[in-house]
């Protein structure tokens, strides 16, 4: 099938099968506000897989379609006009699955990839801890060897979609007597196993986008080790690489059509007769186009065999800054209506329209904006990466690299 035909069929399929969800929040697991969102999302994902549009570039032997980037781009281009209810699968599709394809055993790939792609099993990623954020290699969750496997104790945090997850990709410390980066191991953990407790973490938007997870004597069978014991840091680097790529390519993200801070929405709501307003909108246009063109250039380079590497961190940093700028601008342009609105979503915002500026949409965008600058590495970490790995400047002086983990200072409790 030629690409044009592939594209035409994808468009036809999307038109027939994407559910009509006005606010695009389905599948985000909004709790009581969105009952049934996950079930509907799973139903959609199964249809998507059965139609051949999930795992387009993934190896066919493990359940993918075995096609090329060209088909994936063609599908993504068509899907951009829709809001797919796939958010709940984004961690599995963007990070956990690609890590298993790269590093898993054949038995792990055979067991996990197809259910992941078909939406039968939801995945989460368990790296960050209260005392290990930017410095994730400082994590303290312990996995202790036992008969036939491992026992895990500790706490994870900032875990998206964990409240719906069936499986987690876990990074835990298996050796405290070696330097921090060498004592880690990656595991597949069953999120329904005894001893796993998931608590929603209410973030600054008032919603529970994240969770905190407690592991209390959780047993993991030996065959669930990913990669080699003690090689968890290198495995995690693979996962984080996939994370940054999935953020910049927008895996599992909706389109822009309902975004109240998008340029088109602001053009409709703001008073463009005011030269100051016009100039601020021009600034938004300039920054948006600059980043979009940079992302397109990176994609073209990748296609031409030039691997973007750490330059992807520059794109992520720019996206974080643009997200903050845009939410700040939209709320400032709207004025008092941006920060106070009526319960029924009317009479607020310049148009009093729940789909555009009103209904608390701008306030939510402002409250959500910092997420992009914090998740997947803070702006400061991105700047370290760009300066060290793109500009080849010297790394920060490190006092933690050659000392056994148990002798290091930590922000939280003392290492066990």
């Amino acid at each position: 099938m030629d690409l044009e035909e592939y594209r035409r069929r994808a468009r036809t399929w999307l038109e027939a099968n994407v559910p009509d969800v006005p606010d695009g929040r389905a599948g985000q697991g909004g709790g009581a506000a969105d009952p049934g969102g996950v079930a509907a999302a799973k139903e959609f994902m199964a249809k998507l897989y059965d139609a051949g549009y999930s795992g387009i570039t993934w190896p066919a032997e493990w359940g993918g379609q075995g096609l090329t980037q060209a088909e994936e781009r063609a599908f993504a281009a068509e899907a951009a006009a829709f809001t797919l209810p796939t958010y709940v699968f984004s961690i599995g599709l963007g990070m956990c699955g690609p890590t298993l394809v790269d590093l898993g055993t054949d038995a792990q790939r055979r067991r996990h990839i197809r259910p992941l792609l078909r939406g039968e099993e939801i995945w989460c990623q368990l790296f960050s801890e209260p005392a290990a954020g930017s410095d994730v290699a400082a994590l303290q969750t312990r996995a202790t060897a036992t008969d036939g496997g491992w026992v895990v104790d500790g706490q994870k945090v900032w875990t998206s979609v964990a409240q719906h997850a069936d499986r987690g990709l876990l990074l835990a410390r298996t050796d405290v007597d070696v330097p921090k980066h060498r004592g880690l191991t990656m595991f597949i953990v069953d999120m329904h196993a005894p001893g796993v407790t998931v608590r929603p973490l209410r973030d600054m938007t008032g919603r529970a986008h994240f969770n905190e997870i407690f592991f209390d004597g959780v047993h993991i069978p030996a065959e669930n080790v990913v990669g080699r014991v003690g090689d968890g840091w290198n495995c995690a680097v693979t996962t984080l690489l996939h994370e940054r790529l999935s953020i910049s390519s927008g895996v599992g993200m909706g389109g822009q059509k309902d975004n109240p801070v998008a340029f088109e929405a602001l053009r409709r709501s703001a008073d463009t007769a005011d030269p100051v307003v016009r100039d601020r909108l021009v600034e938004l246009h300039i920054r948006s186009r600059a980043l979009a063109l940079f992302n397109q250039r990176l994609a073209q380079e990748t296609k031409a065999g030039i691997f973007p590497g750490a330059r992807g961190s520059a794109a992520k940093l720019l996206l974080a800054e643009l997200t903050m700028f845009q939410a700040d601008l939209a709320t400032s342009l709207a004025g008092p209506e941006a920060v106070a609105w009526s319960e029924d979503g009317t009479g607020d915002g310049p148009e009093g329209d729940a789909g555009t500026a009103g209904g608390g949409g701008l306030a939510h965008a402002l409250a959500l904006a910092p997420a992009m600058a914090l998740g997947g590495g803070t702006n400061e970490i991105m700047r370290n990466i760009v300066s060290e790995r793109v500009l080849n400047l010297p790394p920060e002086p490190r006092t933690d690299k050659n000392v056994p983990f148990k002798e290091l200072r930590t922000s939280g409790e003392a290492p066990r």
Partner: protein
Amino acid sequence: MRLVPTAEQRELRDAVRSFLAAASPLPAVRRAMESEAGHDPEVYRRLAGELGLTGLIVPEEHGGTGAGHAELAVVLEETGAALLPGPFLATTLAAILLTETGEKEILAGVAAGTTTATVVLDGNRALNGAEADVVLTIDGDRVLARTGGERRPLRTLDPTRRQALVEPGGEVAAVSADGIARARDLFAVAVAAEQLGVLRAALEAIVAYSRIRVAFNRVIGSYQAVKHRLADMHCTLEQAESIVRYAAWAADEAPAELPGAAALAQAYLGRACFEVASGSLLLHGGIGFTWEHDAHLYYKRAKADEVLLGPPRVHRARLADLLEL
């Protein structure tokens, strides 16, 4: 849309870069800028002759190479990075104007490298206006050409490129309202390509210095206060290059997108180039404030280029109009 240079464009870039590194390194730029002519005529002669760059975008039937604006952008990025003094940009703008309006005679001399030319940009001011053989003036839908006429050199912020007050007017060389409109957009793309080169060179200079300059027993490039600013400048460079490639592609392949792309290019590159050049100067510390250091040459070229085609607000207002705000 093509945002990555082709193999041929990379070869052209390498050829221009190695030529300028040998023929016009910064010490030679300094000698040239303090000379009476303000540039080294031998460098210009070889640029036109050996490399054929004055005829790069001139159609083959008028003695040029007939290359595109993507190729021209690659060349101007290199002449910008080298802070090349002399009439190359002025003559290039003239070549754009004459090509777009269908003029042939002056163009043949420009392509051959035997005629230098300039365009009156604002009031009676022209780049390299004192030494250009031909002065072009845009008058409505007509291009006027004058050889001779009164020329009064101006004092300039940027010591590496001269300007003069000239006597506008002359004989009608061409008539084309559409060609003139398109030429103005192409000026914006050409200057943006030069700005990209200045930006890149200013950033490379401070990155190199931050790896060798020591303070408090560490190279300054190991401090986050320095590294993070350089990382931000790199982000600016990535976006700047993406915009220039896009605008040059639009110039060659997508004429309907050119006005928006050209205004975007000037609106972004003008600011970006000056901010990076000033950041580069400041991070050098006190040495950056001296005449003998090169940091001020990038800083001054960046400001001169930012306002060359009018104050920056002009490009932003144009974008607002094109976006129908």
